[in-house]
Symmetry: C2
Subunit: 410 residues, 2 copies
């Protein structure tokens, strides 16, 4: 079960966004597995994608269509299937992604390049393309502004809970909405994961600013979570601004409204990213790893990921065992150049466990055990060599992680 409060909030409608879904039987019968987003004409769309060398066919095609839209018409539709990632599927997989876009284009009268396809699920198998194509019209028939919760369910794979975030906010007296969904529970590591996220607002934001807002916020949200250190072939995050709630377009970062939108988007993206960790495969605890006192951000992240991805630490967290020597091990192996271990401090929650690189003489096992018994635990590390800091979010490593991943395909 997911850790902490993961309830779906009231998912406010975003003007200019409609969503439809259907049961296309991509992998399993009788489950909602095909979702279509429709954006009003004039919407501005930005995306960021996996850096995997084995990026899936839909990722390659979505990137191509987004690049083309810089000089042509903006994307009007997203089409997302779960159950099959259409990754490592070669030429056939790419043609299937193209066929999906072509069919949706034919049924809606837009250009094929105005459609962005997304897939998530098992890697290395071909899409059941006929069933998928047959599902498009039913999904279109379902299009409605008030379908965000359905969409959140319709993109799940091993997720145990749908993931959503939604806010209303005011800029210069106009009320706007921002709503988003995400999915992902395994194969999660920076530069995204088998992670899909779609966020939309009806605020008026230029294409360039939609892109810069997305890139800025993804860096400290989806690019700072890890469940298993594995990076997926299909990670995609899309941010759309329809502009339909009115107001003049935000075109520069100097516009005071830019920072206000950035704050809202950062909260939404952080929530959607952390929901993925809270629903991490087999997770029983939500872990925040804060590293400070670094010479630069890179080494803070290196240490934070070394801790957050250590199976020995993750199993100790699962066992509620304050075996802090393993934390020190992970700091030591992170490759920070010329790290002086005698300047390193480590805290479990508010309890300092490591003082100047050694055991804190005031530390008691009881104090450490009390922190470890919590469901939400912060590990804080001071490297004692600068002012840089960064934070990574992860979960523990349980029997259920093995069970879920040993059984996933069956």
């Amino acid at each position: 079960m997911a850790v902490g409060d993961v309830t779906m909030p009231l998912m406010h409608v975003v003007q200019g966004v409609k969503i439809g879904s259907t049961e296309a039987y991509v992998r399993y019968p009788n489950r909602r597995d095909l979702v279509i987003f429709e954006f009003a004409e004039g919407s501005n769309v930005a995306g960021v994608f996996t850096q995997s060398a084995f990026a899936a066919a839909p990722v390659l095609l979505s990137k191509k269509h987004l690049a083309e839209s810089a000089s042509q018409k903006q994307p009007r539709y997203l089409i997302i299937n779960t159950g099959n990632a259409n990754a490592a599927t070669g030429t056939i997989g790419y043609k299937n992604a193209e066929a999906t876009c072509a069919k949706l284009a034919e049924l809606t009268g837009v250009q094929s390049s105005q459609i962005l396809p997304f897939s998530t699920g098992v890697i290395g198998e071909q899409l059941p393309i006929e069933r998928l194509l047959q599902g498009i019209q039913p999904a279109l028939n379902d299009l409605n502004a008030d379908r965000w919760a359905d969409a959140a369910s319709g993109i799940m794979t091993t997720d145990t809970t749908p993931k959503g975030a939604s806010e209303q906010f005011e800029l210069d007296g106009v009320t706007y909405t921002m709503t988003g969904i995400s999915k992902g529970a395994g194969m999660i590591r920076p530069n995204m994961a088998t992670m899909l996220s779609f966020v939309a607002t009806d605020a008026p934001i230029s294409r360039e600013r939609v892109q810069s807002l997305l890139q800025t916020t993804v860096e400290h949200s989806f690019n700072r979570i890890t469940i298993d250190g594995d990076t997926s072939t299909n990670d995609s995050c899309i941010f759309v601004a329809t502009g339909l709630a009115g107001g003049t377009e935000i075109t520069t970062q100097d516009d005071p409204r830019y920072q206000q939108v950035l704050d809202v988007l950062a909260r939404i993206m952080n929530r959607l990213a952390q929901l993925i960790v809270r629903d991490g495969e087999g997770a029983t605890k939500f872990i925040t790893v804060q590293v400070e006192g670094g010479a630069n951000t890179q080494e803070c992240c290196d240490v934070a990921y070394s801790v957050a991805e250590s199976p020995l630490i993750k199993t100790a967290l699962f066992a509620s065992d304050p075996n802090w020597g393993r934390i020190v091990m992970a700091i030591g192996k992170a490759g920070v150049p010329n790290l002086d271990s005698s300047k390193v401090q480590v805290w479990l929650g508010d309890v300092q466990i490591c003082l100047d690189g050694g055991a804190n003489p005031d530390y008691t096992e009881e104090a450490g055990a009390a922190v470890m018994a919590e469901k939400e635990i912060t590990i804080r590390i001071d490297l004692g060599r600068g002012t840089a800091k960064d934070t990574v979010y992860t979960c523990d490593f349980s029997y259920d992680y093995v069970k879920i991943n040993a059984d996933y395909r069956s």
Copy 2:
């Protein structure tokens, strides 16, 4: 249980090496946990150690003593305790390591700098130094040439089986012996692990050649294994040549005997390293990851480790599920610059699962499942961009891995 044949061979005596051990109650009563090696005067000793920034006190002191021995007398004794790593123990830990050497020096009449200390076990707790010091004389009383098997047991932590290798070989008509032991089952990743290994021969080899033989062979043995991607604070590997079996000293790599010794040492080291993987925490399978067709060795290793350390692949191996998409995922995330996925081939055993970056049309699930049902599995990857190749060894990831590491300290 360990995977495959891990039986201890006949452990041939090495002339000039004596071993003693005792129950010092470092952590648990009634177990052999303190081991002393004695080398004949004139032995040449080389060592390689963890690269962790949190290298343990005994590692720091052993490195110091070895460095000093370059200009002074060579090491005569190793003293090894299990149950406590004496790592992240600050000044007290360092003084305890010094006190251990001083006591052994006093009892044997050598200089303190001729003693190399080693510890393995829990990190972040101080040694029970009084009990350890009291154990030294009983261990010395036990010194005997025929104690290699006892020593292999006496350095175990979460190991389920003692680990040894031994060979007799002939150089220019003289028969020599090489015998070694190792320990380690978790916190195993290149540049060694919570891994200790001690190998000795009675062949006559100069100090410089002892060092070059060790460095050459460790690179493709202990530096090519991974269980959990975690690197320990205490990894140490020692190679000793006593020269007591006679013959003229091997002083250059041009001596034809140098290559012959190298071959023997490589076999011994590979066996000792692979025994650690076969006894990996919770391991049910022994996995060989061969990467070929790389532009250079580094990228072959990057891909091999990415595959060997992926929790998703390791759990699929545990489940005997030929979920080869996860292998492609791991290749994709390895960071190989400009990798052309359409040139990548992947085999499970002899079964080609991925052809030119996509699913092999001739592949059948039955063929893949047959390979996955084996206890020893080779994953072979051709990157299709060069002639470099390398191999990494690992094991699968089971419920028992979680159980062992969630319970270790209790």
